[in-house]
């Protein structure tokens, strides 16, 4: 009996410690640019002053929650995205089905109403803290170390959720991608891959790209927020 008691206590303490010290990680929906806004100021007309770069980012960035409300409620869209479910803290939680519908309809709306594509200008992503300024100071660009810290289960979760909800939708290719901008350990901006099982998590940009012009690929600007413990 004594042995069983001690064993139980050990189990509880260890299990509790495991739960408490695990990090909670949020991987954001892509921040999409209004590409027509970006295209008008790329190349030789791209601002170089930090404040001007920040202003361009602010005017071009489309945030998921902003899109959610606008796509649902903007009378100009004539209810085209009526399937979006808005929520506030006094409401019952949305169901997974509603959350999935929201994701898909925001993707569709962002393209149809804002001409949004994931084509950021790499120099802006490199120079401006887009995550911190657009989502809040606790958000940042994912790092090479973040990718190295994810478990196989984490990568599977991201694929099952972020790609899984795109099944059968035309919009999945440009919105639900697992290819993301990443800050490498040496400080450079690189391409990251969240796909389960890939051998190489980060890849440099091709030497041929013009960093001052939009980069056409399926590379999404996703952000990360890490909370230590539970």
């Amino acid at each position: 009996m004594k042995t069983l008691f001690i064993c139980s206590v050990t189990c509880v303490l260890f299990g509790t410690a495991t739960a408490v010290f695990a990090d909670t990680v949020d991987v954001s929906a892509p921040i999409l640019p209004k590409v027509l806004t970006l295209y008008a100021q790329e190349g030789v007309t791209l601002p170089t002053a930090p404040t001007a770069e920040l202003a361009l980012v602010a005017s071009a960035s489309l945030i998921f929650e902003t899109l959610l409300a606008d796509c649902k409620s903007n009378p100009t869209y004539a209810g085209a995205y009526a399937g979006i479910s808005l929520w506030n803290p006094v409401d019952a939680p949305l169901t997974p089905t509603q959350l999935t519908a929201n994701y898909s309809l925001v993707a569709q709306c962002s393209y149809e109403q804002y001409t949004a594509k994931p084509y950021w200008i790499p120099k802006l992503v490199n120079d401006v803290d887009i995550c911190g300024t657009q989502l809040g100071s606790d958000w940042r660009l994912p790092t090479e170390a973040d990718l190295a810290s994810f478990t196989d289960e984490n990568f599977a979760t991201m694929q099952n959720t972020l790609i899984g909800i795109a099944d059968g939708t035309f919009w999945g290719g440009f919105y639900f991608t697992l290819h993301i901008y990443v800050r490498a350990a040496d400080g450079s901006l690189v391409q990251g891959d969240l796909t389960p099982g890939v051998a190489q998590r980060i890849t440099p940009f091709p030497a041929s790209i013009d960093w001052t012009r939009h980069y056409e690929s399926d590379l999404s600007l996703r952000c990360i927020r890490v909370s230590s413990g539970s």
Partner: protein, 65 residues
């Protein structure tokens, strides 16, 4: 005696996390209390639940690492 304690200890360390932590977990709309399954997409009967688990109202995916 020592080896018996060692075996029991190792057994507990191996089993405790699964007993206490792997069954299910809660995710939230940044503070609300929706609870959805996290313990194996392949075991869920409801495909929509399977696909959406961890998805938050703000469009982010929440998980433990």
């Amino acid at each position: 005696m020592i080896s018996r304690w060692l075996i029991l200890g190792l057994f507990c360390l191996a089993v405790a996390p699964c007993v206490l932590g792997c069954g299910s977990s809660s995710t939230t709309h940044d503070g609300s209390d929706v609870t959805v399954a996290q313990d194996g997409a392949t075991t869920q009967a409801d495909a929509s639940t399977t696909q959406a688990f961890g998805l938050q109202y703000n469009g982010s995916l929440r998980m433990k690492r």
